[in-house]
Amino acid sequence: MERIIEQLPRFFTEGNMLLLLEAAGLTLAMTFVGCLIGFGLAFVLVYLRQAPGLWALPLRLICIAYVEIFRRIPFLVVIYLVLFFIQTVSSDASLFTIAVIAICIYAIAYTADIIRGGLESVPRTQIEAAQAMNMSRLRTTFTVVLPQAWPVIIPPAIAFAVSFIKDTALVSQIGVFELTFRGKELNNQGFSGVLVYGTIAMCYFMISFPLSLLGQHLEKRLATPRGERRARKVRRA
């Protein structure tokens, strides 16, 4: 305990704090870039998965297989697989890129189910009305289904991204300079494990907790039906 108190001034230097701030920024950047791209690609996956017709069966099976497989492989294994695969193909991809790709691959598998759930929550009758008007599948999805599916998709999608912030800790294993990596560095420099990892835990907490509260608030806002939301806006204005 005394050792910790003695280390405090050496630990909480401006240099160290800036390092941690930068690392936290990297953690957030990785998470959101990876999840955003993953989310977009997941949408493509779900759209392809719904392709009608017998000829599309292999495509549909591939989409289903992708999700089922990558939901069952540990993120650490995915990270290593992406790392080794990319390194045998090209020798100068940055570690950050590799991490983002790994996050993407993982996020696609997890968000695909969220998106699919959201799209399927729109009553089939809406799609039938569009079909009867000769609306193409693409236009129906974008102008009728998606706008109604958003409130069901966004909250769990954000909750996933926020919870993924914690999973990025594993990326430290391939040398990306994010929070956990800096933590290990400081620990190796001789600082107390309790002090270092306690602080790192606090950093993650201060990022994750407010964002998760924000996500919950957003979920409540989106749970009200459209007409009520418009009425509220009019009243406020």
């Binding site: 107390s192 494990g193 993650y204």
Partner: protein, 225 residues
């Protein structure tokens, strides 16, 4: 791409990998059971206990669910020795996972507790059930059925995500074994692609087992896909 795949090497070491898989499974089961116990206690406290205790449980849950499991395990592995407690890597992973699982299961079970409607309890009271009888005949069967899918799914999460974290501090579960073997003859891609398949198989088997158990014990139609 001129990388030549050599899966023969992997096959030579398949028994090491299988041992790793077995350790993964054992760690998963024990961590899950421990977490389930904590979760039950935590959910019970949140539902029935007075304020200071409820707040403590909340603080525990909020802290654990907003910090990475890896950091929690690092804290045990690198921090405890400063207090003279030197646990093995396996012990640190196990304790860390139990505490981690306990927090998430507290949330899941608490949601289950809340889902029992007051009217069901009132019906029990009017039929003359004592509190214990209410718990046994009304609450438990109802909850078990509604939360089983979430709990079973969480077991898979622990099995897959939780145990692989151990590899980082040298536990010889499946991922750790693959790392060890790869550093010997550099067949990283081969080993890791094989363990990826093993994880998928392992979780499928576990999912099917859990689905069947759920159907038998609680008459829950759990989805495997």
């Amino acid at each position: 791409m001129d990388y030549r795949f050599q899966y023969g090497v992997v096959w030579d070491n398949v028994d090491a990998l299988l041992q790793g898989a077995w350790l993964t499974f054992q760690l998963g089961v024990i961590a899950f059971m421990g977490g389930l116990l904590i979760g039950l206690v935590g959910a019970a406290i949140k539902s029935f206990a007075p304020q200071p205790f409820r707040f403590l449980v909340d603080a525990y849950v909020v802290f654990i669910t907003n910090t990475p499991a890896l950091i929690q395990i690092y804290f045990l592995y690198f921090g405890l020795p400063e207090f003279g407690i030197r646990w093995s890597s396996e012990a640190c992973v196990l304790i860390g996972l139990i505490l981690n699982a306990g927090a998430y299961l507290t949330l899941i079970l608490r949601a289950g507790f809340l889902s029992v409607r007051k009217t069901e309890l009132e019906a029990g009271v009017t039929l003359g059930f004592s509190v214990i009888q209410q718990v046994r005949y009304i609450i438990v069967p109802h909850i078990a059925k509604s939360i089983y899918p979430a709990v079973a799914n969480f077991f898979i999460v622990i099995l897959v995500m939780g145990t692989s974290i151990g590899a980082v501090i040298g536990v010889d579960e499946l991922t750790g074994t693959a790392i060890n073997l790869s550093t010997v003859n550099y067949r990283w891609l081969e080993y890791f692609s094989v363990i990826a398949v093993m994880y998928v198989v392992l979780t499928f088997v576990a999912s099917i087992g859990l689905a069947l158990f759920g159907r038998w014990a609680f008459r829950v139609k759990a989805r495997i896909f």
